[in-house]
């Protein structure tokens, strides 16, 4: 009984003067024994010490959880914003560059001896070389992204191997073409045959793989985004839970001191409690905002940019199918079909029960797309631009989309005109539409530019969201540690005068 002094300092007597020397002495003697038996817990200083220790441990846990979660948040910015995200978009260039290489070859072969037709022989050759260099650069990027994934590395290698073979085949076709010096659109069968071999390799083997590389790397970004997002969200829960536990201990300590020492409030502990509340709330708010920024970057930025880069690559490839359609009349049906399939993947207007052919496509496109107003709920077409339209609210992106759709319709009107000439047996007229008058090439250029502007809008949204995420995290290397340290000091400052009463 005497070893556990029941000091209950009352109001006005809680000074060192009230300490009984005898009590202090007996406590000192009994210390080791009481400690072993856990009886120290029954002493007031022991209880205060326990309270303080629990508070400090909870603050320490809060600091640990905050540090880990802020680290996860930083990782998510790295993944989406700086490393994988932009690189994946860059691999989209691979498909684009490869498919444009083949389109330029078709242009060169089609114009034959008339070197100034269309883009012109020199310009087409220059573009071909440039795309080849771009494809190489994009393949390097893809190889880096592949890292240690053997399947993806193999796909990249297959693309590069195929490209080497493709260039040899193109070389042969070009040589035969030069020897033939034919008039535009009238290729000798051996040139057509040589080109078929090259374009089949490109379209059926190389391009699908290039496309799959972008899809696969995009899938990894999506997966790590999901993982990191869940980690940040789980971290936010842990911050809230540890914060709440720290608050619980602080309030309990406050109440204990108030009862024990008959005081209303301990100012230092009040500050510590408010500090903990503020740190927890601000951190939870920051993490919520962070998840929002990253989500915007991923969905409004990355996903859209990737989708639109696929739309651009496929549009160029379809434009190349027009050349191939003119170049190789024996396969006109096939190239018309691939043109239609690619067009459908860009914009798929609702055609009702009508058969899905190019003629009905052109009609449906005019009807449905002209009637479309940005921001409307029911978008009457599917495809890449349909997906884009469904995501859209009024504003800068909606304007850019409207211009893109207008330009796309112009491209398709030129296509319809060209095919009407072919259907009427006037191949020279068709070649004029596609190559001699600047219209088709100009309109396609305008469409490409509009698509580029639309992509830029999403790129800006992406950059902005990533900047916001980075800004939010700035300073959060020091804040948790400094905050936790300040709170710990306040707790100690609050407990010290009370403990001092027992010395």
């Amino acid at each position: 009984m005497t070893r556990t002094p029941s000091h209950r300092p009352t109001v006005g007597t809680s000074t060192s003067a009230s300490r009984s020397p005898a009590g202090t002495a007996s406590r000192r003697e009994g210390r080791p024994a009481t400690f072993v038996r856990g009886e120290w817990l029954r002493t007031i200083p022991g209880r205060i010490g326990t309270h303080v220790a629990l508070c400090l441990a909870a603050i320490g846990a809060l600091l640990g959880v905050l540090t880990v979660t802020v680290g996860n948040a930083r990782d998510s910015v790295e993944t989406i914003g700086r490393d994988a995200g932009p690189q994946v978009v860059a691999t989209g260039t691979l498909y684009f560059a490869l498919s444009d290489m083949d389109a330029q070859v078709a242009n060169i072969l089609l114009i034959g001896r008339e070197h100034r037709l269309g883009l012109g022989y020199d310009e087409s050759l220059r573009l071909y070389e440039r795309r080849r260099a771009e494809a190489d650069a994009a393949a390097v990027m893809a190889a880096q992204l592949a890292g240690r994934d053997p399947a993806l590395r193999r796909t990249v290698q297959d693309v590069l191997d195929g490209l080497g073979k493709y260039e040899r085949l193109v070389g042969q076709a070009m040589k035969l073409d030069e020897q033939a010096a034919h008039e535009p659109g009238r290729l000798p069968p051996d040139v057509v045959e040589a080109y078929r071999e090259a374009t089949d390799l490109m379209r059926l083997q190389i391009l699908p793989k290039a496309y799959n590389i972008t899809l696969d790397t995009g899938a990894r970004v999506r997966q790590s985004y999901e993982t990191e997002r869940s980690a940040v969200l789980a971290g936010r829960t842990w911050v809230a839970v540890t914060g709440a536990i720290a608050l619980l201990f602080l309030v309990a300590t406050q109440l204990y001191l108030a009862r024990t020492f008959r005081r209303v409030l301990n100012p230092a502990l009040v500050l510590a409690t408010l500090g903990t509340l503020a740190l927890t709330a601000v951190a939870a708010g920051l993490l919520t905002a962070h998840v929002g920024h990253i989500r915007t970057a991923k969905e409004d930025g990355f996903d859209s940019v990737l989708q639109l880069s696929r739309a651009r690559a496929i549009s160029h490839s379809a434009f190349g199918d027009e050349s191939r359609y003119l170049l190789d009349p024996g396969r006109a049906d096939t190239y018309e079909q691939t043109y239609l399939d690619k067009s459908l993947s860009v914009v798929y207007p609702d055609m009702g029960d009508k058969p899905v052919n190019l003629e009905n496509y052109h009609i449906g496109l005019e009807q449905k797309v002209r009637a479309y107003e940005p921001g409307r709920e029911d978008v009457p077409f599917l495809g890449f631009l349909g997906d884009e339209a469904r995501r859209m609210e009024k504003g800068r992106a909606a304007d850019a989309l409207a211009r893109t759709l207008d330009a796309y319709r112009a491209v398709q009107r030129n296509d319809a005109l060209m095919r009407r000439y072919v259907a009427a047996g006037n191949r020279a007229g068709a070649i004029d539409v596609r190559y001699r008058t600047a219209m088709a090439i100009h309109d396609f250029g305008a469409y490409d530019q509009a698509l580029g502007t639309l992509t830029d809008v999403h790129q800006d949204a992406f950059d902005e969201a990533i900047d916001d995420a980075n800004d939010g995290l700035r300073g959060w290397t020091a804040v948790p540690a400094a905050g936790a340290a300040a709170i710990a000091l306040l707790i100690l400052a609050g407990a010290r005068p009370r403990l001092a009463e027992f010395r």
Binding site: R8, L215, A219, V241, L247, L248, A252, P355, N357
Partner: protein, 285 residues
């Protein structure tokens, strides 16, 4: 005296605990809605799979008298499941006809469909498609002596098979605008009989389906493909993880030579030009 002190301090702590517990519950409630729900349960994480296949397509999906299934689609499904870590013993095959495919996936009666299921923009709004695992093309099968038919336009004025419920004849007559005469027959098997008997001049549909029905029959595949039919693996809408995993399995199937082997095994004898390079995937969404 001590007892009172303890009691009060307990009561005080009790109030604190309750208050703090309320904060914890509130905080957990706030964050709970943000957690989970981001990704639905994926077929990629299952221990066993129910796979929808056809039961009446020779060489693609056929139900044998003993109730088991065989065909190219079945082998592809087994390979994909194997790559997802599910052995054949834990696979259940179920006949899934064309009309019920979307519902079967949505309701979860099947986890995955591998059944000459063409990817189209309309279906993509209801189904998540992995693959395609093969791009089939509409082609035409004629009698061996019909040397004048070499592409789809040569079908002008010819009698072609119109199978109830199939759109293939429309692709010739309506989409390609070739003035052929459709002759209604119930099944592709019956078309082949009618062709041999001279009641028809040509059967035109997906080349793999033709190759399956044509096996062991005299006749000629004209090898003039004129559409792309992207055979996809149907998954429940939104199962992106499953879709990505299946795409990786399909890539592996082509890289390790299995796809080429399976195509040869089931269609090698048909005279059909087969593509053994991985198709361009549709993308998971």
């Amino acid at each position: 005296m001590r007892a009172t002190s303890r009691a009060t301090s307990r009561a005080g702590a009790g109030a604190g605990v309750r208050a703090a517990a309320a904060v914890v519950v509130a905080a957990a409630g706030l964050t709970a809605c943000g957690l989970g729900g981001s990704e639905e349960e994926s077929m990629a994480g299952k221990d066993s799979l129910v796979i929808g296949v056809k039961e009446d397509q020779p060489a693609l999906g056929v139900k044998r008298p003993d109730g088991t299934y065989e065909g190219f689609d079945v082998d592809v499904a087994v390979y994909i499941a194997g790559k997802l870590g599910i052995p054949r013993s834990r696979l259940t095959f179920r006949t899934t006809n064309s009309s019920v495919r979307e519902d079967a996936l949505a309701s979860g009666t099947v986890d995955m469909i591998v059944a000459t299921y063409s990817i189209t923009a309309g279906r993509k709004t209801k189904v998540t498609f992995a693959g395609p695992y093969y791009v089939a093309h509409q082609d035409t099968f004629v009698r061996a002596d019909a040397t004048a038919i070499n592409d789809v336009r040569d079908l002008k004025g010819k009698r072609i098979c119109e199978v109830t419920g199939s759109n293939s004849w429309r692709r010739v007559i309506e989409e390609r605008k070739v003035a052929a005469t459709p002759v209604t027959v119930n099944t592709y098997g019956a078309c082949m009989d009618a062709l041999a008997a001279g009641r028809l001049d040509a059967v035109s549909t997906d080349d793999l389906i033709l190759a399956g029905f044509a096996a062991g029959r005299p006749g000629r595949m004209i090898n003039a493909p004129f559409t792309d039919e992207k055979y996809g693996v149907g998954l429940k809408k939104g199962d992106l993880k499953g879709c990505e995993e299946v795409n990786r399995a399909i890539t592996a199937m082509y890289q390790d030579g299995t796809a080429g082997r399976l195509l040869l095994k089931w269609f090698g004898g048909s005279g059909l030009k087969l593509t053994t390079s991985v198709p361009q995937f549709e993308g998971c969404n």
